[in-house]
Amino acid sequence: MIRLGVPSKGRLMEQTFDWFADRGVTLSRSGSDREYAGRVEGADGVSLVLLSAGEIPRELAAGRIELGVTGTDLVREKLAGWRDLVAEVAPMGFGHADLIIAVPACWRDCSDLDDLAAIARDFREEHGFRLRIATKYHRLVRAWLSEHEVADYQLVDSQGATEGTVANQTAEAIADITSSGATLRANNLRILDEEPILRSQATLFANRAAMGPTMNAFLTQLGLT
């Protein structure tokens, strides 16, 4: 039996259903909208598990589902050593979002990461503590800043409404996922002129330990092998 984990609500769920439908597999919620059970038609030995997108990486790694749809950002952030645990079976072409660093739009002297590094150093001297970057992507942001040799900053945890932290003075900059940048602009933030930390999209992942004939048969049916 292959258990397929799919985000349990919203556009991500609908687009995932469409993606599988295009490949001859019909996924649907059984019962009411509030029920997190699902049905699979057009494929044998596959069951549908509806989960929060954020839980799918952990469930995949734990082997409680064999396949899962979630963003590359969540897999890389939540699973240390992800390449050994899960395989990227197919990028799905939707749910595009970039993990970026944004600073207050009023900072006319800050265009790129070098500026931010210099400002962080000044800030620490002026205020006696390190410049705060609000994010929920601690591992990805830390690794990227370390690779680019930025010091003098600290990460502060923000699990939601991250764009508001600068105005609330609980952070000086943010690192978050954005697709259109509209929320950032609405909060008077500007994206640093750098390549994104990560370009993410919805992706079908498989638990490496679950690879085998059954899995191959299903992936072939989806036209993925």
Binding site: A80, P104, A105, R108, A118, R142, E149, E172
Partner: protein, 353 residues
């Protein structure tokens, strides 16, 4: 797999040797206040500390290293000179990134250490000889360096203060340092600052921004650094030689960079003092850039002993940290040098022998 008890035994043996060398044993807390101490570490340790919340004591961390708490205790109530030794666990997260390494590094391991607070110029040699003799049977590779040499060389560059400070600050971050130095050698491109109609937001003030823009504007008028200076710096930073051969090379560099002469005198005196203790200098590598890869609070002599094992951290390392005692001493300061050995690695080497 070496049993933990065996590692503990090796640690006890090292600790006994440190006590014989005059060290007073100290036992810093396992749980330390994160807010006041974490900031003293470089990014490498800071990012890897286990931080937890205590309802009364606030943000606490599992001890990531001994030096900072030992210095703190000494600065509060220590007499001089002082020799301390310790044995215990330190905790550092080992985030493996994208893949699981075949031999993951321990996130919890023992350190046996010795810290020496003394104004005696011979202190570096005393400490190094202590470590060298203890580790001699293991056939490790010894490397030494001196951060003071590099810092003095950078401080003496004919640069305006702002540029010099920026370079000094980035000395532990080689890529950023290199890019700054390269850009200082090129004609400045005046920066333009696009207008913004966004309202001011956040804790950084408009005044801070205006001051930085003024600095950047005046920086654009600075003449490029003559290439000869970055060449000299490159030669110094790349200097690597057996410790018995390094003195003439350093003196030759000091002819072009007189500012490093006092550091060179200090280094050669230290090498003589080490040799006077019966240590063969030809078995030690002097690497001018050695300190750039060690802990960021070392600002003078640095050393490490490494085993020929892929992926291993140094078996022992240490250095001088005068500036740290200044920060923690709140006005008081005392020269200090110290180092640690990892008994777990020693036990593995002895087990394999």
């Amino acid at each position: 797999m070496i049993p933990k008890r065996d590692k503990q035994n090796v640690g006890q043996r090292l600790l006994a040797a440190f006590r014989d060398a005059g060290g007073v044993e100290v036992a810093p807390d396992l749980l330390l206040p994160a807010e006041s101490l974490l900031d003293l570490y470089g990014e490498d340790i800071r990012a890897r500390a286990y931080v937890t919340a205590d309802p009364i004591r606030g943000e606490m961390m599992l001890r990531p290293d001994f030096t900072v708490p030992v210095v703190q205790a000494h600065m509060q109530n220590g007499a001089e000179p002082a020799r301390y030794c310790y044995l215990g666990e330190v905790f550092r997260k080992q985030d493996m990134g994208d893949t699981h390494p075949a031999n993951p590094r321990d996130s919890e391991y023992l350190q046996a250490g010795f810290e020496l607070f003394s104004r005696d110029p011979d202190a570096d040699a005393e400490l190094f000889a202590l470590f060298h003799d203890l580790l001699l049977p293991l056939g490790l590779t010894a490397q030494i360096g001196d951060m003071g040499l590099l810092l003095d060389a950078v401080a003496a560059l004919p640069l305006p203060d702002t540029r010099r400070d920026a370079l000094m600050h980035q000395i532990w971050r080689p890529g950023r340092f290199r890019r700054l130095l390269t850009s200082f050698g090129e004609p400045s491109i005046p920066r333009s600052f696009p207008e913004s109609d966004s309202p001011w937001a956040g804790l950084r003030s408009e005044d801070e921004m205006i001051r930085r823009m003024a600095r950047l504007k005046s920086d654009a008028a600075v003449a490029p650094l003559a290439p000869v200076w970055s060449e000299r710096l490159d030669r110094l930073f790349a200097l690597q030689a057996p410790a018995n051969e390094v003195a003439p090379m350093l003196y030759e560099l000091a002819q072009d960079m007189p500012a490093i002469a006092p550091a060179v005198d200090r280094i050669t005196a230290r090498l003589r003092a080490i040799a006077d203790r019966g240590i063969d200098l030809s078995g030690i590598t002097f690497d001018a850039s050695h300190g750039r890869t060690t802990l960021e609070y070392y600002d003078g002599f640095t050393f490490s002993f490494t085993a020929d094992r892929a992926g291993w951290p140094p078996v022992a390392s240490g250095g001088r940290y005068d500036a740290l005692t200044r920060v923690l001493g709140k006005g008081r300061e005392i020269p200090a040098v110290g180092g640690i050995i990892r008994p777990g690695l020693v036990a593995e080497l002895e087990g394999a022998a």
